[in-house]
């Protein structure tokens, strides 16, 4: 790993869409970075802004009339200032993306081989024969059996898992330095999901690319990501290494996510603790801390003060945007981890000393 220069650095990115009902604040000032050969997991629910921020990095929100501010530095260039034709040279070449639904991302009337050669020839001046040979090679690389025959088949002749492999092959056509994977396994069965995740890990090792993995599935990020950013209502509320985030999460929203999924390695009768309420509107997001209406620990002033993403004391790589005092957070999590409900945790911490 060469020095501490990130491959991608997103700075104070804001994306707003004007709509009939008002301005949608899809991404509300996020900052993150990704290093070569590493995987960043972006976790969030629908409407958290995780997909919009990635589409913006690829220049795909421009034509939707989005108002964009901030900087997206890739290899030293600010992608937001690149003209569309230069952006087109980057997209699909240095930066690629795979989407959740492989069937709607592949053209049903063109053979898989043609779609792959197109991806190659869009960026390389090579003959059709060379591009086709590359297409066969790519299909083999992603583990599709009998690639020389399959290259002449149509998408409908592939199973769901095989189609997702084709999508990955297409994304890898030009050996990108950075791959955005937006819920790449959500539509797949577990055994196929395991195959695809293993494939992505193998390819990352072989090609050394960076991956931004966007998902709602905490299990998938735990398996794949080196670092994790948790998004809520257009903002990043917590970032940490995967190990830190799961061992000592700091944000009440992260706690809520962790306590609301049943886990195979937990006792079977353990109660789930849902997060009350529903994700907020991005047209009128809550004031102050966006999470305060759903947060069991919020204080009256949390609806006025905007929290900033700050380092956690003693953990320079771990950042959290929470107005609770650090000692209180640690005591609360210590209670929750032992199975207390938020109310019990509050009572225990309120009565005792807020120390870990």
């Amino acid at each position: 790993m060469s020095a501490a220069e990130p491959l991608l650095r997103v700075e104070d990115l804001r994306v707003e869409f004007p709509s009939e009902d008002g301005v949608v604040h899809a991404v509300d000032g996020i900052t993150y970075q990704v290093f070569a050969g590493r995987t960043l997991g972006i976790v969030g629910e629908s409407g958290s802004g995780k997909t919009v921020s990635s589409l913006t990095a690829l220049g795909l929100t421009r034509r939707q009339g989005a108002r964009i501010s901030g900087r997206i530095l890739f290899d030293g260039k600010d992608l937001l200032t690149l003209p569309e034709d230069k952006m087109r040279a980057v997209r699909g070449n240095d930066i690629a993306m795979i989407f959740q639904d492989p069937l709607s991302s592949l053209h049903p009337l063109y053979k898989v081989g043609r779609q792959l050669t197109e991806a190659v020839r869009a960026h390389r001046d090579v003959s059709k024969a060379v591009a086709r040979a590359r297409a066969v090679e790519l299909l083999g690389l992603v583990g599709i059996p009998d690639p020389a025959r399959r290259v002449d088949q149509y998408p409908h002749e592939f199973s769901g898992g095989m189609r997702q492999r084709v999508m990955i092959a297409m994304a890898l056509a030009n050996e990108p330095k950075l791959l955005f994977a937006d819920e790449p396994t959500t539509a797949l069965d577990v055994t196929v999901q395991a195959q695809i995740l293993a494939l992505m890990e193998r390819l990352q090792q072989e090609l050394g690319m960076a991956i931004v993995m966007i998902t709602h599935d905490l299990g998938v990020v735990a398996e794949m990501a080196d670092d994790i950013a948790v998004m809520y209502a257009g903002r990043i509320v917590e970032t940490a290494s995967a190990a830190q985030l799961f061992a000592a999460p700091e944000h009440p929203y992260t706690w809520g996510l962790l306590k609301s999924i049943p886990r195979l390695d937990a006792p079977r009768d353990e109660d789930l603790v849902p997060i009350p309420g529903t994700p907020p509107s991005l047209i009128n997001p809550p004031s102050g801390c966006h999470f305060h209406p759903r947060c069991p620990y919020s204080q009256p002033d949390h609806e006025r003060i905007d929290p900033v993403l700050e380092p956690v004391p003693g953990e320079p790589q771990h950042h959290v945007a929470c107005l609770l005092e650090s000692g209180v957070r640690r005591s609360l999590w210590a209670q929750l981890r032992e199975g207390s409900t938020p109310q019990e945790a509050l009572a225990a911490v309120g009565a005792g000393e807020p120390a870990a």
């Binding site: 999901q193 599935d217 299990g219 962790l258 390695d265 849902p274």
Partner: protein
């Protein structure tokens, strides 16, 4: 089928002999039917014909969606049906609800053979079996108030004709599932996904069914909302002693919700047993592969050895011979492609259809990591 459906029109039957629904909420299975299992499915088969031709259709084959499946559902239990896309779990549920007709086999519900019921007697059974669907956006009529959506089962079955009475009952149901009864006159679009799923649950409970079938009830919901609906279902199950068939592809959710679990592969049950036993010590290599594939929300286990099942599910129109899993099974031997294994007890608490079931060491080795 040439059944004379017309002898009793769906709405022409007499509502007079239906019991009063003053207590339309499920009561702990007190009424008749005895102590036997609530549902007994025997050698159930469902084949969907594959046809060629537009004007003259010829049958050229059949998708064997459910093939010779037998199991029982005990009163008051939650039975999980798991398996990958196309394994037949939803088809099995639809056969039990009689939304589909079986090709052959037998379904007993509450001591009565319902496999070929028609007309009024079918409608009577439909009161007893209700469904909750996956997508709370498409399963509610956007033009109806939620009061009339939840009250619709009463209308269909000619119950509670008095408007005030029906409204009171609907509002009681709304309260039961955690909705504000004052929202009686609102429309579905005013509710979030989780609340819509509650509306679906209230509608399913309206007629105090004996059996509730939940087909992927949370997979369309956001993570933070899923737990709300799962807790509601578990709470209702405990309060009213409901019998539930819970269909899901998420194995962690199924483990959390179900007393017993049946694992299906290509139209067959390959393993069935108590949730604890099946998750702790899966015997069928396919069950083991499914459990090993579940990603864990614990990065400290990252890099732990586990085996990944290769290949794809074969076509159900042309399934492999004998044991249908043999083409992907790491333990397969010659016998597996020649002789179909029977579903039987192998001494560890589950019944498994496998000639060479996993040993304890193998189960651990392939990466089954569920806790006690």
């Amino acid at each position: 089928m040439s059944g004379p459906e017309s002898t009793s029109t769906p709405f022409g039957e007499s509502a007079s002999e239906l019991p009063s629904v003053a207590q339309a909420t499920p009561t702990t299975a007190t009424d008749g039917g005895g102590d036997g299992p609530l549902v007994r499915v025997r050698e159930l088969v469902k084949h969907f014909p594959i046809t060629r031709g537009i004007i003259v259709q010829r049958k050229v084959g059949a998708v064997q969606a459910v093939d010779n499946v037998s199991f029982e559902i005990t009163r008051g239990e939650t039975l999980g049906l798991v398996g990958e896309t196309g394994c037949g779990k939803s088809t099995t549920a639809r056969l039990i609800t009689r939304l589909l007709d079986a090709t052959s086999g037998e379904i007993d519900f509450d001591g009565q053979d319902i496999t070929r019921l028609k007309g009024a007697s079918l409608k009577a059974i439909r009161r007893e079996v209700q469904m909750i669907f996956q997508d709370p956006y498409s399963s509610l009529n956007p033009r109806k108030t939620i009061g009339s959506i939840i009250g619709e089962p009463f209308a269909i079955h000619g119950l509670l004709p008095d408007k005030g009475e029906r409204k009171r009952e609907v509002q009681r149901l709304m309260e039961t599932v955690g909705l504000n009864p004052e929202h009686y006159n609102r429309y579905p679009h005013e509710f979030s996904g989780g609340q819509r799923q509650r509306i679906g649950v209230a509608r399913a409970l309206a007629l105090a069914p004996k059996l509730l079938i939940a087909d992927e009830p949370v997979s369309a919901l956001d993570v933070s909302i899923q737990a709300q609906v799962l807790n509601l279902l578990r709470d209702l199950q405990r309060r009213f002693g409901l019998t539930i068939v819970f269909i899901a592809h998420d194995l962690s959710v199924v483990r959390h919700m179900c007393d017993r679990v049946a694992v299906m592969y290509l139209g067959k049950i390959v393993e069935i047993g108590g949730g604890d036993e099946l998750y702790r010590f899966p015997r069928h290599p396919y069950t083991g592969a499914l459990l090993a594939a579940v990603p864990h929300a614990d990065p400290s286990r990252h890099g732990e050895q586990r085996s990944i099942l290769g290949g794809d599910v074969p076509s159900p129109a042309n399934p492999p011979s004998a044991c249908r899993f043999h083409t992907r099974c790491p333990k397969a031997q010659e016998l597996c492609s020649q002789q179909e294994p029977l579903l039987e007890d192998k001494g560890s608490g589950t019944r498994v259809a496998c000639h060479f079931p996993l040993t304890r060491e193998e189960a651990t080795q392939i990466g089954v990591r569920s806790g006690g």
